[in-house]
């Protein structure tokens, strides 16, 4: 089991690298075609898929399957979900980011977004490899498998989609400045940021609620202003501010993107927080 897990992890790193190269090639070829064809106004040719597109799509799916293998074999070995250390969580998080990036790519045809999400996932996979921890036994407080697995599952969905929102927000700022034909339209990017929050925010809420529920069952206190808890509250408040500026003040585009970037910094801070402050959380 142990060897299958590490083989799958190493292979997934290799496979992400291949996927990045393939989709970069596909992306560059398509953009060149796009620029070429817009002059001839032939829309049909643009939508045809190149062999590189298909190959990169398949590689992304293989990567997802490989990370799934690593996560599942780890779960079989430990008997619980990926919640007991940074290694397990980084693995799950990279899975969420690639999956979210791929789904948004299928829906909105934004190769650049997929590429960046692959790169972020690659960094996380390398981080996971460096942080590798052999399965450790669960201390009593963590013996709450169902609840904590649901807690991490919400985190994977929330952080995965909000990472996509962050990438789209950064691309928005770039696109807004340079009007590059290489990047998706502003309207598409703005739509992606909004959709990412529509999915991410409820799961972010669920993440915090499940964490509070666990604390209540384990220690009899659902909220204690522990640094990690507070950091997740800050994240939540930033996205609440995003919702209100958008719905009530009509903030879109640049200002909304800046808020989303702040939100993502808060997520990263919460995620890596235990290197900065000590708390009860093991991840």
């Amino acid at each position: 089991m142990d060897s299958l897990e590490s083989i799958a992890l190493v292979l997934s790193i290799a496979s992400v690298v291949i996927a990045i190269v393939l989709s970069l090639v596909a992306f560059i070829r398509k953009r060149k075609q796009d620029v070429h064809h817009t002059q001839e106004t032939s829309k049909a040719a643009v939508s045809t898929k190149s062999a590189f597109d298909i190959a990169s799509g398949i590689t992304v799916i293989i990567t997802i399957l490989l990370i799934t293998t690593a996560i599942v074999s780890r779960a079989i070995e430990t008997g619980h979900g990926p919640f007991s250390n940074m290694y397990e969580f980084a693995l799950a998080f990279s899975w969420g980011i690639i999956l979210a990036g791929f789904i948004f790519h299928l829906r909105y045809k934004t190769g650049s977004l997929l590429n960046i999400s692959l790169i972020i996932a690659l960094l996380l996979l390398i981080f996971a490899r460096v942080q590798y921890t052999p399965p450790n036994s669960l201390i009593p407080a963590l013996q709450q498998s169902a609840l904590l697995s649901a807690h991490v599952a919400s985190a994977v969905v929330a952080y995965g989609t909000l990472t996509i929102g962050f990438i789209a927000a950064v691309l928005y700022l770039i696109q807004n400045k340079y009007q590059s034909p290489w990047l998706p339209d502003l309207e598409v990017l703005d739509n992606i940021t909004y959709k990412s929050v529509i999915i991410g925010f409820p799961f972010l809420t669920l993440l915090i609620v499940l964490g509070a529920l666990w604390a209540d069952i384990a220690w009899g206190r659902y909220w204690g202003w522990d640094p990690k808890e507070t950091a997740s509250l800050v994240t939540w408040l930033i996205y609440a501010a995003y919702m209100h500026t958008r719905l009530l003040k009509g903030w879109k585009g640049v200002r909304a993107s800046i808020l989303l970037i702040a939100g993502f910094i808060a997520i990263a801070f919460t995620f890596f927080g235990n290197y900065i402050f000590s708390g009860l959380h093991s991840y």
Partner: protein, 446 residues
């Protein structure tokens, strides 16, 4: 005088109005939310005391007031949405010429077009309200109107959550160190009439030394009557009528007997629950007071972080005071009586104590209800977005009509999606008209 009172009255009304407007503003909400975020960040790096400071609570209270007034203020607008608003819109209304409008000239009778529009929109789940004006048909269509009530769930559940927190911390209680030694029974207090007996405590470890389980076998008594006999473990609290006992910590205890003139003056399992540091050696300590002799005995364990140079393993040290004057330190061996002043101590056996957190929170269920309502409210607004569409079907001549459609430019529902819904409906109507006609052609004339 009267004039002055009137003026005051006017001023009063004016300031109430100003306050009301201030607290119904979204700008204030955004500012307050961001202030709380910034204070929280400061709190992370400085101290958790910030979260009980007057200014943090004041900002929170302002936000609650803001939410309340904001939502009261919105009710009229929401009511309008629920009713559906006006049906008949002017032709100019449809003339926006952007992505929220569509105008089609169709080679069909107006009645045929309005039939097709009705059936397509109904199929898409819209509620329809119609008005006729000669040969023209006005349609107002809307969808998911009741789901806008989700905003009330999201906002009011936050107020509910805060209320639940306040109720819990005022009406409930929390005992963070309820200590019971093995074999002993301790009263909880807080007018509960409850007492807890610890039968045994076991701590188990994995091979690598990390803890695997903390298990307290207990009996709970209510006014002296046994009511529950169970095990309390981490993640498995004992819940008795809303009072919950959580396994929290544990430590050494000692069964000690003290006699004076042959009479027992103390006999109990003493929890040595306090730890203290002396030159880097951490030891546990517990106290026995013998009032009859004005004696105070501090019972000390060997160091638990390093081999103890003073107290041998398996023994205890006793530091005695009489009337506040130190009598000196003695070593206490198991089953070897030790005479101090006019009493005799016997250390009968080693044991453990278990420490519990005890919490009574009458509003605990409310917390989880509020959280659920928030998420349900979010799902209602986000995944069942309210949308509105207006149609005007103008008859131009027999066999010729004009279809004008406009979709509501809503901010909740992304405009890209609005445009998609608009195009989908219009092309659906066109397709339906075509189908109707080809069907008619296929039906042979009588």
């Amino acid at each position: 005088m009267e004039n002055n009172a009137d003026q005051n009255h006017g001023l009063f009304l004016k300031s109430i109005k100003w306050l009301w407007r201030l607290f119904s503003s979204a700008r204030l909400a955004i500012v307050l939310i961001l202030i709380i975020a910034v204070l929280s960040i400061i709190g992370i790096f400085t101290s958790a005391d910030l979260f009980s400071s007057w200014y943090f609570i004041a900002i929170g209270a302002l936000l609650m007031l803001n939410i309340l007034i904001c939502n009261i203020n919105r009710w009229k607008g929401i009511q309008k949405y629920l009713e559906g608003g006006r049906i008949k819109q002017s032709e100019d209304f449809f003339n926006k010429q952007d992505k929220t409008t569509a105008i089609r000239d169709l080679q069909y009778d107006a009645t045929e077009v309005s039939q097709a529009a009705k059936s397509i929109l109904q199929k898409r789940g819209y509620r329809l309200r119609l008005e006729k004006d000669h040969d023209d048909t006005y349609i107002a269509a809307d969808k998911n109107r009741f789901f806008i009530l989700g905003t009330y769930l999201t906002h009011l559940s936050i107020i509910l959550l805060v209320l639940a927190y306040i109720i819990g911390s005022t009406l409930g209680f929390r005992e963070s160190a309820f200590i019971v030694a093995e074999g002993a029974t301790e009263e909880l207090g807080y007018d509960t009439g409850l007492s807890l007996q610890l039968i045994s405590f076991t701590d188990s470890y994995y091979e690598d030394g990390t803890p695997s389980d903390y298990n307290s076998e207990v009996i709970l008594y209510n006014d002296g009557v046994e009511v529950v006999r169970t095990a309390i473990r981490v993640n498995y609290p004992l819940n008795y009528e809303g009072i919950r006992f959580f396994q929290s910590f544990f430590g050494p205890a000692a069964v000690i007997q003290v006699t004076k003139n042959g009479e027992t003056v103390f006999s109990d399992n003493l929890a040595l629950y306090r730890s203290f540091d002396s030159y880097g050696y951490y030891r546990n300590i517990g106290f026995i007071d013998i009032e009859e002799s004005k004696l105070s005995l501090a019972i000390i364990t060997p160091s638990f972080n390093a081999p103890d140079p003073m107290i041998p393993e398996g023994q205890l040290a006793v530091l005695a005071y009489k009337d506040g004057v130190e009598l000196g330190v003695h070593l206490l061996q198991k089953m070897t009586p030790l005479e101090i002043d006019d009493v005799i101590l016997t250390y009968e056996s080693e044991a453990q104590y278990s420490g519990f957190q005890v919490k009574s929170d009458p509003a605990n269920a409310l917390v989880w209800i509020a959280c659920s309502l928030f998420i349900i409210g979010l799902a209602m607004v986000f995944y069942f977005p309210h949308s509105q569409m207006w149609l005007l079907i103008k008859s131009i001549s027999p066999g010729n009509s004009r279809l004008l459609v406009r979709v509501k430019d809503s901010k909740t529902f992304n405009n890209t999606d609005n445009t998609a819904a608009l195009n989908d409906s219009v092309s659906g109507i066109e397709k339906r008209l075509k189908e109707n006609n080809s069907n008619q052609r296929e039906v042979p004339h009588g």
